[in-house]
């Protein structure tokens, strides 16, 4: 009986430790809604990947292998159109609270696999 209890204690301790490590690894990533999109090859002449729908996105990020010119965008047809440019990674923030779409453009001139992630 005692041996079973010890095993359970050990399993519980491992579970707690695993949860702790998982919590550390995802700290700061908590978001009410987030969507990953793209993650496939697009051309480099301003081709883009786009979120599946509009949402009250606060941030949008894009990444690729290497250091191609990437542009991240949060926009709608009314008040929002925020764009940010970076090398191999970009992120853009929009604090207006409106429903916006998320895009990541490849401006490098050559094809790259590009992935995006947007969240509220």
């Amino acid at each position: 009986m005692r041996k079973m209890l010890h095993v359970r204690l050990a399993v519980l301790a491992v579970c707690i430790a695993a949860a702790f490590v998982l919590a550390l690894s995802t700290a700061g990533a908590a978001s009410a809604f987030s969507e990953s999109y793209g993650d496939y090859e697009i051309c480099g002449s301003n081709c883009y990947i786009q979120s599946g729908g509009a949402h009250t996105f606060y941030f949008n990020e894009g990444g690729s292998t290497g250091s191609p010119y990437l542009a991240c965008q949060l926009f709608n047809s009314i008040h929002a159109n925020e764009v940010s440019h970076g090398y191999g990674y970009c992120d853009v923030y929009y604090a207006g609270g409106e429903y916006v779409w998320a895009r990541v453009y490849n401006q490098s001139g050559t094809s790259h696999v590009v992935g995006g992630n947007a969240g509220t």
Binding site: A30, G63, Y87
Partner: protein
Amino acid sequence: MMKIGSRKGLLVAGALTTALAVSGAGAYAAANSGTDAGPGERAATVAPGPERQLRAGGLNASEAQPLFFLANGKRVGLVSNAVTKCLVLSLGSRFAGEMCATTAEIAEGHGISITDECATTGNDLMEITGLAPEGVLGVRLISSDGTARSASVLSGAFKFDGTNPVPGGPYPTGLEWVGSDASRVGTARLPVAGDQFCEPTS
């Protein structure tokens, strides 16, 4: 005997917990120690979301030292370790962006970020922020019409406040690094193709 068994159980649990924590920390460090990977590849080693580059570099936005404000109201701070430097943007108390680069990337002129407020109802602001290579004291922003603007380097960082280029008008094309004797010591391109600063909304 029971007491010995109880201690054994606790010891086993403790050892397992320690081993898990150590292996997790080791895996984290290993995933982030590679400096050959590009910014996107480093970011991919941690969960997506705000502060991703910072987390990938083992840095914390709350430890950023304030540097300057941008015309769009965002505050810019700097946080770094032996491998990575990051500019941290915040608006009020809210995180509002990041730009991280390794020493090698900064030397290569890849520690540069541009943000554009492109909505027709906005102020049309454009902010160019970045990290300058070691020894650079000033930065010149070169325009397609041959004109230039200058900015000083503060703690390795610089900024240019401006407005988005108008269609058909001159636009920024690159940077010149300025050394202690006011001479050009290097150049860098901007991470944007030609005059594609703003993007369409359709």
